[in-house]
Amino acid sequence: MSTRAAISLAALMTCIAAVAVPAVSADAPAAIVTVEPPRDRVLSGQFEGRTGREIRANFGFGPTAYAISHKYRFLTDDPDSYEMGEGYIGMPSPCSCNWYHSGFLFIRINGRDVPIPASSVMAVERGERAIMDLVWHHEDADVRARFFGLPGEDWLGCEVTIDPTGEIEELGVNLRCYPSFFTSHHKREGARRIQTPSALVEEGTPAEGALGDHWWGVYYDEVFDVARGEGEGPCAMLALPIEGATVSFDPGGYAVGTSMSFPPETRTIRFAFWDLKGVTNEHALANVRAQAEGVRSTLETIDLTPEAVTQFDVASVRESLTSALASEETREALGDRIDEIQQWMEGTAPELEETDGAPGIRAQEDLLKSIDDYNSFKWQVKLTELLSDL
């Protein structure tokens, strides 16, 4: 059995997968998200010498079992040399086509994708909402993709947040999907379509316009329609309109691309994604049409700051930590861990205390990582005390 104990704070700061969720109540939460440990696979063929890594987050909040995965490759002999594969944010479930399992969402700042690997992939809330964060430190901005699910809903939300660290001249989000079926892979031909509020975009005929006019889209295939006994069913997207944002659709015979361009000063972009697996084209169109206004309203109003952040009380933490460390025996047993926690209290905590409103991306990331570490430390103290009493 390999180690399954909590990893050290230092390790956490560099580790890509971390868990920072509030304690689970005895009752099953209405919305859950779990982040699996990284899975490595030694690659062969044209990727000989590389290892593929996948970190997968599984959502459970409604009728659709969504999953988000962060994928990348690294040189097996040099694990710090990374390569991007087909993408870095994939949606492997409920089906591998539709929003592409190996990369469906691309965030580009000044023409460059966010760097791989992500700085952190964390489940940050479960219960009333299931929320997971992916954070990157791009050379011109800190970037966070916050995916969320609400109990009973059939869509997966996503908030992209940008905290500039340099000048931003271009900001774009690209989407890739394979509606209903991997046509060319199976040597088949389909008929790709995108229905937006104001247009029907057909395969082979790229189109573009204001995001406000095409703020949602149902991506389907007329050949691979569940009603005809073929394909998985459509997928759909809704983007909260932003003044000045544009969108272009490129429905190829295989992949279907969607490119959105946002004003450089944009700091928050919100989406809803549907994978309508098992749903006919007709029902998918009706479903998204019927829900669009309501989902838009939700995206406009929801505050996605995790409870762990909004309810974090630095003073209380400091007080309980001081109390827990009063025992000389505990100090001796935990050694370096105490120093790490104290450093964190001295470094990050004051910044949090001074922040008015939701902390920035980097501060939230640090806090969410540290909450987990603090909780772990708290239990280590208790365990040490318990064992020393035996």
Binding site: M1, S2, T3, R4, A5, A6, V19, V21, A23, V24, A26, A28, P29, A30, A31, I32, V33, T34, V35, E36, P37, P38, R39, D40, R41, N58, F59, G60, F61, G62, P63, T64, A65, Y66, A123, H186, K187, R188, E189, E222, V223, D225, A227, R228, G229, E230, N375, S376, W379, Q380, K382, L383, L386, L387, D389, L390
Partner: protein, 1139 residues
């Protein structure tokens, strides 16, 4: 006994009630995974169940894979314990380990840790590697009074020497390890269960280990018995014929009324004697046991009351003898049917007058099959013939016994050896399992697998475990995995496939290595899965072999030069066009397609030759060896499917189009299957299973016996079949009831339609713009669907069959040529003759534009047959094609084609797309677009005119109407439904099958009234010409269509009465039958089902003999022998008197 824990019950309820919620599904699935049920019950002692003391709640942490979790169920069977488990697993296909379910699994664990538990058990797991919170939530309750038991593990932070308990007061309550005080609670460190291995009495030895485990758990919980019970066996050593005294002393107040004492003397693998139960005496008392065979025993005793077990104790003792069976020596520990089990028995000591030795053959159930009794003394020889009916594991047991006048025989000593009876299970429909259980409880896991229909196991080891033999499971040794990796110098690693010396040494070593597997019985010998099916290298050996291959193929250097455009004057000059270019990529780039193709063909040939080397070596040690491999089977990967089938003895390819070729060209007994097991729900799994049946496969292969997480194994951690597996077993019972065996010798009907598989065309479709028309495979698939959805069937013929004169042209009216772009002159001539003589051919684009080596031709070899000419070779023109009222968008049309003698019809931007030509007495039709462009008539959206057109084409070949027609509720042709029919004399077996869509009612119209049996409903529908049934996605429904009601079978016993130890022979036939019928044989005696006599027999008018061996220790009395016919589900009964 069937008990399911409260959590498992809740899980099922959750699964049913909230199936729509992904969150609940995840947690519900985890509960199903973690369920600890009694669905698979094993022999055990109820040491403390029911228990007069408190029941005990246990939370166990252990590895979820393998057999470890079963220890929990074994504990629950023996003690009044309610347990839950948290499983640690290795993630399938990855190296990661985690708690099962990842974070959801951790959340489940945390919920469980909030509950009150009497004891926490770590079965081989290290608690210190849990998080601090998890450890705290285990240890805190322990310090407050709960218990913790470490089995095969420990934790020095908790188990401190200074807290070890030295005195437990009463020995019978002491844990089977070291006990500790942990705050207010208790802890135990005990050893892991030893790997007992399979031998006689292993289960009894385990029963005592489990007793100690339970005793430890109860002590840790503070739930140890309140009454005291001690057993004094004196010195613990007795002579076999001495009276053996045991003094028992019970003390304390019983919790329940009517306390009494139960006693038992038991030897693992030997006798178990219950002594008379008696009221609990007030003081110590002595009981005696008489003669016992030599060996190690336990004396077990319980105080029981109306409240349950008050306390128990067990004491070991040994029995010795001066007269012993010192050795059973076998001449050979395995043998084939017809061989002899022979050897000798050595006796040590001085036998008494009249002492006898019995050498008996026992099966794994302890049934005495054969025996030989001789006076004791010296070395005694024995010999038994191995009979066809014998199980795969036979115990040769020698016992010396005394037979005092007026008393039962008294066994003095016994010894035994196992003999494997080599069986391959090759004459039956099989279900194969990847890998096999290990660990102390592997025998139970293997038994559960056998109970759940497993008849074969594939494994990597060369020595199949004896548990396979004990369950009559034949073996598939995974002897190697053929890959085509190269060394730096371009030669094959580790040696060239044509380096005869290296190959010979390698394959012979392999054959020797796998001798134990051969002795067990190999269904087939596997050369691995996902192997590379082509290969060549740059070694001199390969260079020579390549030349020899080319000489064989071309016959002359002139022919080769003509094909390659070269001017070699000597064969020694023939080789690669560019040094080091193993794949002839250079030739391809230069457009020298024959030179490129020949290299590809050689690589396929070379692979098969390499397989043959293994085959020969394996046949040298096992003349019945069948050698082949798994995986591959893609048209696009260059597999020479005909050659592989022709030269290898089995193949389990990936599911796909190759299955259709294999079922058509392989002999009926050619083992074939696909792997399945890569989803978790019954429906999708059944879709895979039934597809194999409807593709005429004779076995189903499942990956793998245990799996959690991404996939599910055949067995759950508690060793019950997973719920989805149970559903599979229910739905496919008809296969094991005889359908599987009945179909094995039959072939799927072809309705006069053949499809041509052409090896070179696989390559031709990828050159000179060929890919713009789609793939070779997609064209085949399109034609399959077109033919099937209209109710017709087909079989494949191959280009090699044409060349070798194996094409029976008279059997077919229609020959389909999907993307047959490359064709030899010989093959073209045969096709031309076929049409001239009245046959019809249909082709899609570019027929025969290359020769059999891919040499581009000026005129297509079949242009005259199709009445066309081409202006060259061009990429596909994508256009809207119209044929009559049918419009096909995005059709991939060959723009070079124009009609000469043919009638050109249809149009796509000026190119004809529907070209029909009379040729001789037959006709040729060219669909001048790739078949994949044609509407998929099985789908709802396809215009019916497309179906009409396809039907019109097929009917031109005088095939008349489809043999059956399936209508939907709207009266129209029901789409997306396969009708698969097998002919069996004047009977017909028919399956209806779909893998997508929804349930819907269908009406099947038969060409004439038939007596129909519905094998799903097990219903006799009588003489009908229409069948109404529900089409269920993923579940094939079978019907038997007979000219009349099934004839009455005859079941006759050659002798109505036999003695135990003899073999009864029954004769089963169906007089007057023109077909085969399948029967399952069931025998009962006194209402007890004698499952070891279960069998499936396929027979017709000629009698089949059924042997019914009755063991010396089987019950006597009246045996009801039933032969239950598959179609009618009705038994024919005969009665056998067993004396």
């Amino acid at each position: 006994m069937t008990r399911i824990t409260s959590h498992a019950t809740a899980a099922i309820a959750i699964a049913l009630l909230v199936a729509a919620c992904a969150c609940a599904q995840d947690m519900a699935e985890l509960e199903v995974d973690h369920a600890l049920t009694f669905e698979f019950e094993t022999p055990h002692t109820d040491w403390a169940a029911p228990y007069a003391g408190e029941s005990t709640r246990v939370l166990v942490f252990c590895n979820g894979r393998g057999t470890v979790p079963r220890h929990i169920v074994e504990l629950m069977q023996r003690f009044e314990v309610e347990a839950e488990a948290v499983f640690w697993i290795r993630v399938i296909d990855y190296g990661n380990e985690q708690w099962l379910g990842g974070e959801t699994g951790v959340a489940r664990m945390m919920q469980l840790l909030e509950e009150d538990w009497d004891v926490y058990v770590f079965l081989g797991e290290d608690m210190s590697e849990m998080t601090a919170e998890q450890q705290y939530k285990v240890l805190r309750p322990v310090t407050e009074g709960a218990g913790v038991v470490f089995v095969g593990s420990g934790d020095d932070r908790v188990l401190k020497d200074e807290n070890a308990v030295a005195n437990f007061g009463r020995s019978e309550v002491a844990p089977a390890g070291t006990g500790y005080q942990v705050g207010e609670g208790r802890a135990v460190r005990m050893g892991a269960c030893p790997d007992l291995g399979y031998h006689e009495g292993w289960d009894v030895e385990y029963d005592y280990w489990a007793e100690g485990f339970g005793r430890s758990v109860l002590w840790a919980a503070g739930h140890e018995p309140q009454m005291a019970l001690s057993i004094d066996a004196g010195a613990g050593e007795f002579a076999w014929d001495a009276q053996k005294s045991f003094t028992l002393d019970a003390a304390g107040e019983a919790a329940g009324a009517n306390p009494r004492i139960r006693m038992r003397v038991r030897k693992p693998g030997g006798p178990s004697v219950d002594l008379p139960e008696r009221d609990l005496p007030a003081r110590a008392f002595t009981v005696e046991a008489g003669e016992l065979p030599a060996g190690d025993y336990h004396f077990d005793a319980w105080v029981v009351s109306d409240a349950g077990v008050e306390t128990w104790a067990t004491a070991p003792f040994s029995v010795g003898s001066d007269l012993t069976v010192s050795m059973v020596r076998l001449d050979r520990d395995w043998g084939e049917v017809g061989d002899t089990i022979s050897g000798s028995v050595s006796i040590e000591g001085a036998p008494g007058a009249g002492d006898m030795v019995r050498v008996g053959l026992f099966d794994s159930r302890g049934r005495l099959l054969k025996q030989q009794i001789t006076p004791a003394g010296g070395d005694l020889d024995f010999a038994f013939e191995i009979e066809q009916w014998m199980p795969m594991l036979v115990r040769v047991d020698a016992g010396i016994f005394r037979n005092p006048a007026g008393q039962p025989a008294q066994t003095i000593d016994t010894a035994y050896e196992y003999v494997r009876v080599t069986q391959r299970n090759s004459d039956q429909f099989n279900f194969l399992m990847w890998d096999m259980p290990s660990g102390p409880l592997a025998p139970w896991a293997q038994k559960s697998l056998a109970d759940a229909a497993v008849t074969l196991t594939l494994g990597r080891g060369s020595r199949p475990p004896i548990t396979l033999a004990a369950n009559d499971i034949a073996y598939v040794p995974y002897t190697t995995r053929i890959m085509n990796n190269k060394q730096d110098d371009g030669t094959m690693a580790p040696f060239c496939w044509n380096d005869e010396e290296a190959v010979s040494a390698h394959v012979q070593a392999k054959a020797q290595e796998y001798l134990p597997a051969r002795e067990h019985g190999c269904y087939v010998w596997s050369l691995g899965d996902e192997v590379k099916t082509t290969g060549s290298c740059l070694s001199p050996h390969c260079e020579v072999a390549y030349r020899e291959y080319l000489e064989e193929v071309y016959g002359s250097l002139e022919a080769l030069n003509e094909s390659w455009g070269t001017s070699f004057t000597d064969w020694e000059q023939v080789g690669l066009s560019k040094e080091g270019d193993n794949d002839e990529a250079n030739a391809l780039a230069e457009g020298n397609y024959p030179r490129w193709f020949d290299r590809q063909a050689y690589q396929s040939y070379n692979f098969v030759q390499f397989c043959q080397a293994y085959d020969e070596a394996y046949k040298a040690v096992d003349p019945l060896a069948r050698t082949g491999f798994e995986g591959a089977g893609r048209f696009s990967q260059g597999d020479d499917i005909d050659l592989i089938v022709r030269e290898n003895d089995f193949w389990s390819p990936y599911p796909g189009v190759a299955d259709e070729v294999i079922r058509s060209i392989a002999p009926p007994d050619f083992p074939r299957s696909n792997w399945m097991g890569y989803t978790k729900d019954a429906d999708s799994l059944l879709g895979k299973y039934w597809r194999m049946i409807t593709r005429d496969m004779n076995s189903v292969w499942w990956w793998r016996w245990d799996a959690l997480g991404r996939f599910h194994g055949w067995l759950a951690p508690d060793l019950r079949p997973f719920p989805a597996v149970q559903e599979i077993l229910r739905d496919t019972q008809v296969v094991r009831d005889g359908l599987g065996d009945l179909l094995m010798p039959l072939e799927i009907e072809d309705t006069g339609i053949a499809v041509l598989y052409s090896f070179p065309s696989q390559f031709a479709c990828d050159i000179e713009g060929g890919t713009t028309y789609g793939s070779y495979e997609s064209s085949h698939v399109a034609f399959h669907e077109m033919v099937r959805d209209l109710g017709y069937q087909f079989s494949y013929v191959t280009d090699r069959m044409l060349r070798l004169g194996e094409f029976e042209a008279d059997d077919y009216r229609l020959l389909i040529l999907p993307r047959i772009e490359a064709l030899g002159e010989e093959e073209a001539a045969i096709i031309r003759d076929f049409v001239e003589n009245g046959g019809v051919v249909i082709a899609d684009v570019r027929p025969a534009i290359y020769d059999g080596h891919l040499k581009p031709l000026g005129d297509g070899l079949l242009d005259d047959v199709f009445g066309i000419e081409a202006s060259g070779r061009a990429e596909a023109k994508v256009a809207t094609a119209t044929i009559g009222d049918l419009a096909i968008e995005n059709a991939k049309v060959d723009p070079t084609i124009s009609a000469t003698t043919a009638n050109a019809g249809g149009d796509a931007d000026g190119t004809p797309v529907w070209i029909a030509n009379r040729f001789g007495d037959g006709a040729a039709i060219l669909l001048n677009m790739d078949a994949g462009s044609f509407p998929k008539i099985s789908t709802a959206g396809a215009p019916e005119v497309a179906g009409d057109l396809a039907y019109d084409v097929i009917s031109r070949s005088n095939l008349h109407q489809p043999p059956v027609f399936v209508r939907g509720e709207d009266g129209e042709r029901l789409r997306n439904t396969e009708v698969v029919r097998w002919e069996s004399g004047d009977n017909e077996i028919m399956a209806l099958f779909r893998t997508s869509g929804s349930r819907e009612m269908a009406t099947i119209e038969l060409p004439e009234a038939r007596h129909v049996y519905d094998l799903r409903a097990r219903e006799d529908l009588g003489m009908v010409s229409r069948i109404s049934t529900e089409i269920i996605p993923n579940r094939a429904t079978f019907f038997a269509l007979l000219p009349d009601a099934a004839p009455q079978p005859e079941l006759t016993l050659l002798a109505d009465s036999i003695s135990r130890g003899e073999v009864a022979t029954a004769s089963l036939s169906v007089p007057g039958a023109q077909s085969l019928y399948a029967f399952r044989i069931r025998v009962t005696a006194g209402g007890e089902h004698l499952e070891w006599l279960d069998d499936v027999v396929v027979t017709g008018p000629t009698s089949a003999e059924i042997e019914l061996p009755v063991a010396f220790n089987d019950p006597a009395g009246s045996y009801q022998v039933e032969a239950i016919e598959l179609f009618t589900n009705q038994p024919t009964v005969a009665t056998l008197r067993v004396n």
